[in-house]
Symmetry: C2
Subunit: 331 residues, 2 copies
């Protein structure tokens, strides 16, 4: 049953983790020791799923905020690992939703073991994250992580409900990506700051950073479906269009064209033989890609601005650099 | 989108809940208010999923143990609702695993809305249960529920890994049904007793009751796949056999026949055109169904014995009657 795993290349973002390198190693060790089972089959699945997420962005955010206040505690390492488990659980379940075969050069759990096994692997990761969080002395983190994960699910459910719904407003789109992506980033930054003894204003600033960074990240991710380099992103262009998922560039495009053209576009989008190439061509004639890039820049700037509330530290410098990194993916 | 739901008949087991009728109503109200969303699509899914589980056995067990010590607190109502949400989440995901179309006379989430939506609905229920649990003053319940849910997932993953594994031992089978079914019953009885101020010995006795009742219940459930009345169980006979799931009667049968016969049986079980009717016929010539019934009785008795540790109360009488009820399903 055991197959060698392809060791994925280090993500360049991880170079930024230098000030928390030792702590990130502790998080990795904890993930390795927590995600084991005495039953070989279960153990294999847990080890595989632990490799699916690459950048470890959420634990890094938590620890960067925490360390900007002082030394990292064992509880913060646990929380960083728990948040990464939640994120991995959502990836494992997302891969089923997207019938994805590969993630980061390894085959997905659903592709290799079937959907049933992938559902249970995700469930195991969720429940183990909650268990780990509840080993902290107070219920604060468990509440935050429970509530945030719940919002992630609600956001994803809403997104499924918006399939084919091409009159989705920009406001609704932003609410959905806030829930499905930004909430967990915000949970990480908030917990890192809270458990480091940050003031209420500092915790709010950290949460605002996480939210805005998450929104910028998701706008860029959605843009890459239209303007990405397939060899870099490892995804086929136009997948969201094929799945009839209304994302920001498309919402803007439909808002900005004349009614006659809009009807034509909607007919194409709703036709059974929808061709992503045709739709990608529409964007080349519109300003919608640029508009979406500007929106991503707007949220990335808001993330950096939120850091104004924090005292100077090497970690703060890094946190200020991360949004730029997120934006660079879209160029 | 909205469809009228068929109101399922009250399960006869619920007649036993008389001493906690008012509290069970509070649990129902809490489930209704917690499982809502301001987004219509999400709200519809939550309302539907809340109707999938019928007997409310786990909340009833929690409250019966709690009330045998005194008045029920708001925290116990929350825990009863949280445990039911976890149970419902596992049902929603199980229905995907089994490609089930109906549960309790309503169509399943996967059948009506597709697997994607069902995965997310289950995830929502899990995370909401964890959130609700973490609103209690201490982390005790969150730890218990996190750990128990994790064991349920591990048990289900192991069961998938044992597909086709017809040399599964009785010991392994019992371990798996303990994890996938009995652990959550035991969690309910343990929490009910702990939060009622039970002594360590009383909490252990309550846990033992939950474990043994859960094991008896699952053995009976597995038996009904072979000897059940399709019109009563609402399931086709031989489904486990068709899915090549080794359960107690089959394990016993293969252990008790001569080697030559065993080879014949194994060939049939492994053949592409496995016919459940043929296999059901083997059981009529064996003692394996009786053996399994005896095992269920053994565990049901152990559950009743565990109650010896508790002081007399009307709730204890009811708790002593529930295992008999579980056994009656197999006659």
């Amino acid at each position: 049953m055991l197959k060698p795993l392809v060791e994925p290349k280090q993500h360049p973002l991880t170079d930024l983790y230098a000030p928390i390198a030792a702590e990130m190693t502790q998080v990795e060790s904890l993930l390795k020791t927590e995600l084991t089972s005495k039953y070989e089959f279960v153990d294999e699945l847990l080890r595989k799923s632990n490799r699916l997420s690459g950048k470890r962005l959420r634990p890094a955010l938590l620890l960067l905020f925490a360390k900007s206040f002082g030394d990292i505690t064992e509880d913060q390492i646990k929380l960083a690992a728990a948040i990464e488990m939640i994120h991995t659980a959502t990836l494992v379940h997302d891969d089923i939703l997207d019938s994805a075969e590969q993630r980061r050069h390894n085959s997905t759990i659903n592709y290799e073991y079937g959907n049933q096994t992938a559902i249970l692997t995700g469930d195991f990761l969720f429940s183990h994250a909650f268990f780990l969080t509840s080993t902290l002395p107070t219920t604060f983190a468990a509440q935050e992580i429970g509530r945030s994960t719940n919002k992630v699910c609600e956001g994803e459910m809403r997104q499924i409900g918006t399939k084919d719904q091409f009159d989705l407003s920009q406001k609704e789109y932003l609410e959905i990506i806030d829930a499905k992506t930004a909430v967990l980033c915000s949970c990480a930054t908030k917990l890192g700051t809270h458990y480091a003894g940050g003031t209420d204003a500092e915790v709010d600033a950290a949460a605002a950073y996480g939210t805005n960074l998450g929104i910028a990240f998701q706008i860029v991710d959605d843009l890459l479906d239209i303007v990405g380099d397939e060899s870099k992103t490892g995804k086929s262009l136009g997948t969201d269009l094929e799945q009839r998922k209304p994302t920001l560039p498309l919402i803007h495009l439909l808002d900005s064209v004349a009614d006659s053209e809009k009807s034509l576009y909607l007919n194409s989008l709703r036709s059974d033989d929808l061709n992503p190439a045709t739709i990608l061509d529409w964007f080349s004639k519109s300003d919608s890609v640029n508009f979406s890039k500007t929106m991503a820049i707007h949220y990335a700037k808001k993330a950096v601005d939120a850091l104004g509330q924090l005292q100077a530290s090497p970690e703060k410098e890094i946190l200020a650099a991360i949004p730029h990194f997120v934006l660079e993916r879209s160029h």
